[in-house]
Subunit: 635 residues, 2 copies
Amino acid sequence: MSKKRNLYLNTIPVDEAREKYLKAVSELLTMPAERIPVTESLGRVTMSAVYARYSSPLFNASAMDGIAVSAKDTEGATETSPVILQENMYTVVDTGDPVHNPYDAVIMAEDIVETDDGVRITSSAAPWQHIRPIGEDIVAGEMILPGSHKIRAIDIGVLLSAGILEIDVVKKPDVAIFPTGTEIIEPGEEIKEGSILESNSRMFENMVTTMGGNGHRFPPIKDDYDEILSKVSDAADKYDMVIINAGSSAGTEDYTVHVLRELGEVIVHGVAIKPGKPVILAMVKNKPVIGLPGYPVSAYIGFENFVAPLLSIMGRRNEAVNEQIEAHISKRIVSSLKHKEYVRVKVGKVGDKFVAAPLARGAGAAMSLVRADGFCVIEQSSEGVEAGEKVKIELYRNKNEVENTIVIIGSHDLILDITADMMPGKYNNMFVSSTHVGSMGGLMSLKRGEAHMAPIHLLDEETGQYNVPYVKRLFKEPMAIIKGVNRIQGIMVKKGNPLGIKGIEDLENPDVRYVNRQRGAGTRVLLDYKLKQLGMDSEKINGYDREMATHMAVAAAVASESADAGMGVLSAARAMGLDFIEVAYEEYDFAAPVRFLELPHIKAFTDIIKSPEFKKELDRLGGYTSDASGRIVLV
Amino acid sequence: MSKKRNLYLNTIPVDEAREKYLKAVSELLTMPAERIPVTESLGRVTMSAVYARYSSPLFNASAMDGIAVSAKDTEGATETSPVILQENMYTVVDTGDPVHNPYDAVIMAEDIVETDDGVRITSSAAPWQHIRPIGEDIVAGEMILPGSHKIRAIDIGVLLSAGILEIDVVKKPDVAIFPTGTEIIEPGEEIKEGSILESNSRMFENMVTTMGGNGHRFPPIKDDYDEILSKVSDAADKYDMVIINAGSSAGTEDYTVHVLRELGEVIVHGVAIKPGKPVILAMVKNKPVIGLPGYPVSAYIGFENFVAPLLSIMGRRNEAVNEQIEAHISKRIVSSLKHKEYVRVKVGKVGDKFVAAPLARGAGAAMSLVRADGFCVIEQSSEGVEAGEKVKIELYRNKNEVENTIVIIGSHDLILDITADMMPGKYNNMFVSSTHVGSMGGLMSLKRGEAHMAPIHLLDEETGQYNVPYVKRLFKEPMAIIKGVNRIQGIMVKKGNPLGIKGIEDLENPDVRYVNRQRGAGTRVLLDYKLKQLGMDSEKINGYDREMATHMAVAAAVASESADAGMGVLSAARAMGLDFIEVAYEEYDFAAPVRFLELPHIKAFTDIIKSPEFKKELDRLGGYTSDASGRIVLV
């Protein structure tokens, strides 16, 4: 217990931290100009206003196919007294051709008749008709683009036609990125227990790219004070900004803050934000240097809050902040007054309201970033929100995509992943979002109007019937069951079944460390039903109280050293290389209000689970039958 | 008149054309997979679902800094009867360290006390507390990303930590782009009269990039049947799609459609869309080949309607369509029943409504694309919309940016360009949009609630006072004048003043071809005032009826051969190299409702016109004084 730990008890609020830091580094954020060919300027930002060199059109040009004439030669022409123009009184022009003195008007090809004497016209031409005067579109000297403008494809076309071949743009900020930590290994290296695959730096590199900068990622540095010091010192000479990842918490090998104090000035250490507290905001050799925490979610949020605003100023990117929407939260969130908290949420539109389902809250839960559609920000001054309460969501997915997403909340099965995969491929711009809270949890969400469908597998102990009795009991409005699949449930055990488990009865053996599903999960209902049938006592099962939220999590626990058995579906057992003892087939269906059945994304979903491709996937996974898939049963 | 013209009288509606074409080419749009390193996959699209190779965490890991213990060793520990753990009963762990058998719980460093006998704890540990079980975040075999998913920075982080180093993505569609036309020259080449600077192909190239494809732009092809045929035939062998630009209208040298008929099949020729009618949708050697018109706006709209949907399918990019908003149109738009029309608009938010001001409608007006925030689509079945009517706008600028834009409608002056340039540089995410309809037009827009401010220079003939009398007469609500600049107005004449014009009086000379401003423009009011003072008759001025919408357009006309004199400001004369005969100083101010004065972007605007940088710009332009700039006068 003699290792040295950093202490940073006095964390400051996020906005205050950012403001303090921005003020300290504000002089360091001006990027110089860089002159590049216009043809390579897509997405770059103009350094200053750009003015046209040439006018467009470059000359008085015909706007039509026809003949150029002198308007006064056509005066008096009518249907009854046409005018004949001799060959020296006009010239044939195509659209875009120049129109010269003495000609000052164009007559359309459709309005003339060729005769042996010349061209006959039956109405006079007004001066300058059908002529695009010089400079109609662009006048030489006119401003084409303002400064600090992000160049689009259409801008490139106009710049070139205004005679601009090269353009001054803001240099891209060059950002050095250092992963640190002795336990860190590179993807592809041999994995030993205790090693952590380095991936944050790659995420940062690409976040920098997305923000219009150049990320320069270096190989991991070991926890060595002198090495970190020399690398960071060199990088501060060469790059516009430096990011150091991990080594910023109060852990035992966290040198970063000491290194930065030696090299320069630490402006902020520790911010009241969750996740993401151990952020370091410093300045070394007149360059901003930022230390970000190691957990992926903390790293992401730290970047968004402290690196992104700097890059935005350096690159002069006036991107709007992410879109905000109001949504109803589907679960209670409790938060502390000690920090501002970022809760990842899945968002969908059910009826006319947006609903947001909180995802895993751990800072290590990188997948929650991938799955999330945005953040629900709980301000430092709030103790949390109640289920159903309206909250503000910062979307980082397109709102239109969110509106085209079918919201599924309930029991988990791999077929949800399969439909989520097939949906956007088969139906353009339609998506599946699924949140896993067990069957009963799903029905409750459906009742609160927070989901389109609830996947359930609930055995009614009295009738022995699946799903329909539960839906009947719980809902007043007209409901439907969209038939899903029959799937085999069983006991997952280690490869080779070392404890010789044959069925539910063997779970009473105290040497069998069981891992259970959470209350309300259909698998748990099935276990309880079987225990009752067999007259067994749940208290005698070692691990009955240890709960996991998905089949896969149970399978992973059994595959590790921490458990010997757990109930779940065959596909989960196969995915983790486990043996499987069959217990029963159950009906896994989708409950949905009748009023949603006609929604295009629900119809698309029903079509998918009826399709031969879907059945082929089920065969590949094994343990399913699907004769009724997609059939609709009104409850 | 013997040149051969194409005829394509039977145009079909846009949606029908697109559907017909998509049906014909649907088999040709499947791109193969390409295997690339995950670290280079930003923005690419997954070919199929991606499953985790490793779990994360890879092992049962400590979630805290502290000690790993066996929970049963801690049973019964309380404040009053603490338990001492000997050295062989625990191990020190940092966050992320593995936790091994027999240890199954972690106690936080804060909750232990080191003593000489061992570590003292005062409460028992629950099994698995502060341990992140293997697979808590990602379970091996679990789906990480669905197919057809556009890869983001956060996805790259998660893929790497799940052990995925390479990934199958959809190959980028390779698109060959051929500019054609004998009159076409490359940017940088010597410009002769009649030559047209080629820029559409560069716009297409970058639009293809933006849509996730690779554009391959070829040098312009002359109007030569055989050359076009051989180039297109080769390209259809090598690329996934071919675009031919221009050569698709009914002009005299339009070989494209004939070439495509010889090489393959023309599915559609001519679409009821304005601008953009002469589109060719064809198929050559099982590749889609699209002919797009030459005018820049037609080219852009043709691309968006016919090329973009194909690229979207080929690249499996499920991008949502551009955002739609409802806005009030600020000017009447008349449209024909013969086609669907795309009118470019500037959009702003004034009070609580979006307002859309139509921009130049010519297909050649490429600058209207740069200036526009979106399109107002007038359906084929509509004859147009009235001013103030609600219309649907397809935005292609960010809505948040639109909301932070100050909407200026009124008289034009170069200082509007200068503020538009300075605004986003000095104030993050704030923009200026200006539409030029003359002073009276601006006040009318202000009255209809379609603008924040109207720049005006209106001389009251009775009082000799500028601006205030007009605003007083026209508005009931409390109004303010934000003082702008005093600027010199004068007569612009060709360099050297070949006609010897000395003042307004000389405009009666019939050899002087005058070019006027539109009715309601302050410059026109000034001219009329001067004519009245001098007792002159406007009918005697040659060209009094020829109207231009801006100072720069008048200057461009005088610089060309089509006019000899026009009234305007010194800066416009200088920009076009003209001589300038002073007439009078006038007051160019900004009228605004008092209730807008506190808006942040109006305040930013006022600060800018007060700033020394702004005054420096005025000195550079010449012809301005600015002692009162930014002062607010309540009317």
